[in-house]
Symmetry: C2
Subunit: 328 residues, 2 copies
């Protein structure tokens, strides 16, 4: 099942079911008004939406309309939790190597995850607005899952059963603000502005065999100003699967329905796959030539992130954003 949240002037938007090929959609009105409402009562409501989804895919839904990603908010325009892992250890190692630091051995067993802000997410085609282009504006192409309720102390395998939906993420980062912020010792705040999400959230069965072992075995494409800079494999090098990331968070507290758990920047050891963020490109340049040569994003730059399924269809639709200064 594919689900989107459409702009209707409200804070949480309006839930819609979207056809598998993203051609058309149907309001979920009468079943669940918002995605959070669905997640709050998943077992009762989702079968009804699955029926509507089947009807829509058969072309028999009576009030279907053309699906337009520009009308989308983030699937959850605001959420009760957003935690983002650094599951691709190559990313962690690369960024550290560029500044001459070692990655601690414990990082192979103990996932690195940060708590993000979740009160205000960007839709897939919303401008990313920043007051200064000197902040080191960078995209980060990622995946995330949305969970149901997860109990304290849940094992990684059981935690995987708590995965309700998958989403595409652009975890905007302000690289020049991050070093001083992290040096203070309490994690990110100003360095992580509003995160953007892809047009549709999908149930794991939409991925077919590509969803395996808590990982998505598909390639993630990032196009910066139209040029492909990355086609990174999201599956094999994800050092911790989503169940492990969820279980890490659940060690000392429950996760409640609608929690979003991210994978971190998708990254591969083989540099020929390109990158899912500019920081990594600059790290490679530093390792190779002693200094970075690619600047971060400027006002007017665009970033397009998309993942194609084994059926050749776009899984989530595309994140397609422009970096913009504040309105005058």
């Amino acid at each position: 099942m594919k689900l989107a949240t459409l702009k209707d002037g409200s804070r949480d938007g309006q839930l819609a079911v979207v056809a598998r090929d993203l051609s058309c959609a149907h309001h979920a009105t009468g079943i669940a008004g918002t995605l959070q409402r669905l997640l709050d009562d998943w077992n009762f409501l989702s079968p009804q939406l699955e029926d509507l989804y089947a009807t829509l895919n058969e072309g028999k839904a009576r009030h279907a309309f053309a699906f337009d990603p520009r009308q989308c908010m983030a699937p959850l325009p605001r959420a009760y939790q957003w935690v983002d892992g650094s599951a691709y250890l190559n990313h962690v190692e690369l960024v550290r190597k560029a500044r001459g630091a070692e990655m601690p051995a414990s990082f192979h067993d103990d996932p690195l995850i940060y708590q993000g802000g979740s009160d205000d997410f960007l839709g897939p085609t919303d401008d990313a607005v920043f007051a200064s282009a000197d902040w080191g504006i960078d995209f980060e192409s990622e995946l995330a899952v949305v969970t149901g309720d997860v109990a304290i102390g849940t094992s990684p395998d059981r935690a995987l059963e708590g995965v309700r939906l998958l989403m595409l993420v652009n975890d905007w980062s302000l690289r020049q603000l991050i070093p001083a912020e992290l040096a203070k010792g309490f994690g990110f705040l100003q360095g992580k502005p509003a995160t953007a999400f892809g047009p549709v959230a999908v149930t794991p069965d939409e991925l077919g065999a590509a969803w395996q072992g808590g990982r998505v075995h598909l390639a993630l494409e990032s196009r910066w100003n139209g040029r492909r800079v990355g086609l990174t494999e999201a599956g094999p090098e994800m050092g911790f699967h989503f169940g492990q990331l969820i279980a890490h968070v659940a060690k000392t507290r429950r996760l409640r329905a609608g929690s979003i758990v991210g994978s971190g920047t998708v990254s591969n050891l083989d540099w020929s796959h390109g990158v899912s963020c500019i920081a990594e490109l600059r790290a490679i340049e530093t390792i190779q030539g002693g200094a970075p040569t690619t600047p971060y994003m400027q006002f007017g730059d665009t970033i397009r992130i998309e993942m194609t399924g084994r059926d050749g269809l776009s899984v989530f639709g595309a994140i397609d954003q422009r970096v913009a200064p504040p309105a005058a």
Copy 2:
């Protein structure tokens, strides 16, 4: 105006207006079903609740009932954002001094704030359940504000106008998990389990002249197993007022209605005021005698946190929790 959220089996509970003396309450049904709903449309809904509040305080509300804090959830049982500052620099300095570290000078100008989990809060009398008593279980007595919508780049003074409500907080901390977690560099996750909040949230006018310059000029009492361990002054030594904390978060992103911004552990230079967390007591013991002598909390321990107004009434009601092992 004083507001509480009552348990009704739902995730968000039921909003009620509570009399100034906490003697009785009245459901807000017909005006706003939940506190988040009120915050989402504050300017339209709050005057209607203020009318109900006046009627209740006059003893003329027709369906008033006795107020029982044990029926309370957190005022916001789940929220879209919870960030917690360390505005009392004495706390930061003391904890560092105990481990032989200096506080950076920049901490006087640049607030230290962490992003917390907000999907699952504890009510004022809910048990705090932990799998192990070896995790260094500690309370932290604090205050917090709930904001309306705050624009990117808002100044500290303007940010203060975004304060809708104040709350009492117990920011549970697992001290033995924190050092290794912070050493990873991305902030807290397992070290900060579900946070608890006092029975009622209050509008700033409830504090009268005690609400001044974005600070609450009242004393905060902490009783551990019935014994008073702290009566700390929340006003004069708050190094950053709430407007400054909000503005810090708003530098690179908006805050949306219902964001909770905490003060950090209330702490005074004069040790005779006692402490608002055990870590500080242990820090003092370490500075004085070379090693801490007071252990952290054990299963069965209780913590009661309360603040009394200049009128002698409890401002928020009391947080009164017990530390418990998981149900067998």
